[in-house]
Amino acid sequence: MITLEDVHKSFGPKQVLRGLDLHVPRGESMVIIGGSGTGKSICIKCILGLVTPDSGRITVDGVNVQKAERDAFLARFGMLFQGGALFDSMPIWQNVAFRLMRGSLKRPKAEAYEIAVEKLRRVGLSPDVAPLYPAELSGGMQKRVGLARAIAADPEIIFFDEPTTGLDPIMSGVINELIREIVVEMGATTVTITHDMTSVRTIADRVAMLHDGVIKWTGPVSEMDASGDAHLDQFIHGRADGPIASLR
């Protein structure tokens, strides 16, 4: 469904992606792991067209993302941002229903509100939070609202950027379970970026290890522990010694 072929991206002298190849089949949950600054977020932003790659080809269902009609293309996606990226100036329900209140997916206000409340319930939030503003919620609740916004328009493809960063272990577990449930329930194709191995084991069907701008290993999550790849082993076990250089 999503294919990246020989994708390169540099920022000034820094080469972030150096010939990235990745295929995400339809309906699968792909988790991309890798150290900080290895280009995981840039990879997702390239797929969404938020960042233009220097070279290479990215297709979704065979259509080049750079040439796709933007509105229709983006309507297929949902995204949960690392920090939630909720709009501070809007109440929670308008954040969730943002896409349903404008553009090609526009619905009447009352219907958009109902859908927002239903999605909030789906992520474990009561309708009481609907009129509140993002600043009035805790970090975990903001993540849930971000998740509700990502699934509000029932997208075919959902991206999760560091869904558990900054959350306590219990809330991380709750978010991981929610993501897994939603993925199974909606049958969506998902790409998750994370460092959190608990998230990987809960969410992933397949795992891709990104290092130095290329995919070092990819395969089913069940084969991850016996991969024999030195980079992946070091990352999974959090060892300081190995092929991945660490700053000490």
């Binding site: 932003k45 969404l48 067209g49 938020l50 933007r70 509105d71 983006l74 309507a75 996606f77 949902g78 995204m79 941002f81 690392q82 920090g83 990226a85 909720l86 709009f87 501070d88 943002f98 896409r99 404008r102 553009g103 090609s104 997916l105 916004r149």
Partner: protein
């Protein structure tokens, strides 16, 4: 050795000039892009009305007070200066022409740069830093249309009105000082003011208001959308936006004064 000594500073000057030209080019492309979106749907009416309220209505107190005190001070200065050559009677005329042609538009423009440009730049830069602008894109919403167009359009509509109001309040400031402490007759003061002003004075004032409003909002949006990362990035964007807006407003004022009033 001596050739290198000469070429080094020249290269530095050249680099600065090229950077300045590149920056002017980027701002011009940004402004052209904003203007081109004025005429293409979708239009975000709710955001436009909100911006009109923020930029226009909520700026009224600061604009009014600035104009009132400036008009009053102007009357005192002209009276004191005019007394040196027995020309105290020209206070109404000079206050009127000074406020309408220059001080009204410039002071309102600078107050808008301080109040609105900083607020727009800080808000949009924070949205950028917290990935809210990326989120807008993923929600099929063009940030230029949703964030920049309503703000620039609102400034183009409201700042001329603010300038008009500022002009009137400034003249009233002069009127209050002249009639209450300088001994002018109220009816004569108003008669002289009204008779002295010409339509071109008022037109120039309102045109300047529109241009200054456009500059103030465009700079806020441009610096906000091109902000660097973190709190420092937001701070730099805000500072840069206000500085650029203030300098451009003063430069545009000089050019527009030349266009309207050069003999």
């Amino acid at each position: 050795m001596s050739a290198r000594l000469i070429s080094k500073p020249l290269a530095a000057i050249g680099r600065s000039v090229l950077q300045l030209l590149a920056a002017i080019g980027r701002v011009a492309i940004f402004a052209a892009s904003v203007i081109s979106h004025f005429f293409r749907p979708p239009f975000y009416l709710k955001e436009l009305l909100q911006s009109i309220l923020n930029i226009g209505y909520f700026s009224l107190p600061v604009v009014g007070l600035t104009a009132l005190f400036t008009g009053g001070a102007l009357a005192l200065q002209i009276y004191a200066g005019g007394a040196r050559f027995s020309a105290e009677a020209v206070v109404p005329q000079i206050v009127a022409i000074g406020m309408v042609r220059e001080l009204g538009p410039v002071l309102v423009g600078l107050m808008i740069a301080a109040r609105v440009t900083s607020s727009i730049a800080a808000e949009i830069a924070t949205m950028k830093v917290t990935e809210q602008i990326d989120a807008l894109v993923t929600l099929s919403t063009n940030p230029m249309k949703y964030l920049a167009v309503p703000r620039v359009l609102a400034a183009l509509i409201t700042v001329p009105l603010l300038v008009g109001i500022g002009d009137i309040i400034g003249i009233m400031g002069g009127f209050i000082v002249a009639t209450q402490s300088l001994g002018f007759n109220a009816a004569t003061y108003l008669h002289n003011t009204a008779n002295f002003l010409e339509p071109l004075d008022i037109i120039s004032s309102l045109v300047k208001g529109a241009v200054f409003g456009g500059i103030a909002a465009t700079m806020g949006c441009y610096y906000g959308m091109n902000s660097g990362r973190g709190a420092q990035g937001v701070g730099r964007a805000t500072k840069g936006a206000v500085e650029a807006a203030a300098v451009l407003i003063l430069a545009a004022n000089f050019l527009l004064t030349g266009v309207f009033f050069s003999v």
